[in-house]
Amino acid sequence: MHLARRRKSSIFLGLLPALLLYLVFAIYPILQSFYYSVMSWDGFSAMTFVGLENFKELFKDPLFWNSVKNNIYVVLASVLGQVPIALFIALLLNRKLKGAKIFRTIGFLPVVLSTVVISLTWGLIYNSEEGLINEFLRSVGLEALAQNWLGDTQWAMIAVCITVIWQFVGLYLIIFLAALQNVPEEVLEAARIDGASEWTTTWKITVPMIWDTIIVAIVLCIAGSLRTFDLIYVMTHGGPSHSTDVMALYMFNETFSNLQYGYGSAVSVVIFLFSLMLIMVVRKALGQKVI
């Protein structure tokens, strides 16, 4: 009895520091964003309750829809770019190859770099006067193709998406490699003895066996791209003329530049609910496998 009581207080004491910090600085803010989203507030003077006014206004705001559209581009580029490239490279790397480890190491490198470093590096690569791409085009005599990549409304989004793909292919590569290692060798061996070509084995056995992981990767990819912020904030700031604006960036500008805290929070809530919905759908589709 005495021991049990002592254990109970130990459990409480042990959980307290983590739980307290987490509740105050992660859970409380996310709940607050719901509260602020039904208020009209500039962050300093008194708040007034406006109900769903912010959301109504938001859904009528063409700039918000523009940011949604651009965000969908990022999602599409990520899912259609990162996942297939990563899967392809992972399938190539998942065999006895000399130097496989080096390719893996280099492949994953961009993932550990700070997004700010990546944005600035690629900013220089896209630089209109002295950037790598234009310099390359000039050196092979294709000067006519040189562009102001990040300064042109037609090209900016494409340039941004290429960088996003480059940054995260490695992440999915590693995830796929981990999954491929769990495919039992005997199954593949059996298929080979039955005379299946490598192509058939890959498509009929390997890929179906890691299908769950592929779905998880797609979800991570979608959820991750809905949150794109740092990269675009540093590279283009959403410009030129909103052509690379995404939801998180739009939220940031509305809140901290235009001081519309309530309105900005409404955007936050939409991003949050969107991510949550997506994860729920996939969780349902996959059973309990995701989170």
Binding site: I30, L92, L113, S114, V116, L120, Y233
Partner: protein
């Protein structure tokens, strides 16, 4: 994984097969090499050009520098106050990582090894944090930190960094600790060890591999974090590297050499860190990502 031709096949077939195999291997290597170049070249390009003078950069972007110019580094170091940025980043990173892993491990220990009424609820609450998009918390975080009087202090960033790294930390550590056999603590308690003593002298040392993974993941997250720093810090003396670098690049838009030198200086420590601890990083990324 290599396909082997059965020993019964005729010699001719074998030779044909071997030739086909070597062509296939060559194609694979070409593809992988291309992939590696695409991954590494942007970074190498930047590092190499950071040693060139402005004139050389504009005429010779692809080759190695004729002579290494270190002036870019001196300029960047001075202009961006790199000594302050490095100091701030190292302090925040280390402090946040140590606190997160310590209190996270302690919480994981109780969640993994004890059954109590709220166990499942508390665990789920923590894991939920992995799906919160941090940008949704920027506004309330700013207001909260401001109301607590914590804007622009040396420890401001510790709070969000710890809070948002706890979920993955607890997730990885709990699943690791759950796998220990039960009798370990039982014998410790028999010997008169208290609960906390058992955690500190038995469970924590036994969790070393997972703790290493979590430490590395935390460190990289904190080292690279930008959004919270952007919103919560505007005193140049308190900026972290990513933040300082972004504002420095904004001011030096045309001084490419200094920009690239600044980027290289930020890049090198984390690349070395990655190469040394790659195993831990990859382990953490996959266990975190595949399962949640």
């Amino acid at each position: 994984m290599e396909t082997t031709i059965g020993s019964k096949s005729k010699w001719k077939n074998k030779e044909k097969g071997a030739k086909k195999k070597s062509i296939k291997k060559t194609i694979i290597y070409v593809v992988l090499t291309l992939f590696a170049i695409v991954n590494a070249y942007p970074i190498l390009w930047m590092v190499i050009n950071s040693f060139k003078s402005e004139q050389e950069f504009s005429v010779n972007q692809f080759g190695f520098p004729k002579e290494f110019v270190f002036e870019n580094y001196v300029n960047a170091w001075k202009a961006a106050n790199f000594d302050i940025l490095f100091k701030n980043s190292i302090f925040i990173c280390l402090a946040a990582t140590v606190v997160t892993v310590l209190i996270g491990a302690l919480a994981s220990y109780f969640l993994a090894r004890f059954s109590f009424k709220m166990n499942k609820l508390v665990y789920t609450l923590f894991i939920f944090g992995m799906i919160i998009p941090i940008h949704s918390t920027l506004v309330p975080m700013f207001i909260l930190i401001r109301n607590l009087g914590l804007l622009n202090t040396p420890i401001t960033l510790l709070f969000p960094y710890i809070a948002f790294n706890l979920p993955i930390t607890i997730f990885i550590l709990t699943s690791f600790m759950k796998a220990f056999p039960k009798d370990i603590e039982e014998s410790a308690i028999m010997d008169g060890c208290g609960v906390f003593r058992t955690f500190w002298s038995i469970i924590l040392p036994m969790s070393r591999p997972a703790v290493a993974t979590v430490m590395v993941l935390n460190f990289i997250h904190n080292w690279n974090e930008f959004s919270f720093a952007l919103v919560l810090i505007n005193d140049p003396n308190l900026q972290t590297l990513p933040l300082g670098l972004a504002s420095f690049a904004g001011q030096f838009t045309t001084n490419y050499g200094a920009q690239m030198a600044g980027l290289t200086m930020t890049l090198v420590p984390i690349v070395i860190f990655y190469l040394l601890l790659e195993k831990e990083i990859v382990k953490g990324m996959t266990s975190g990502a595949v399962k949640g």
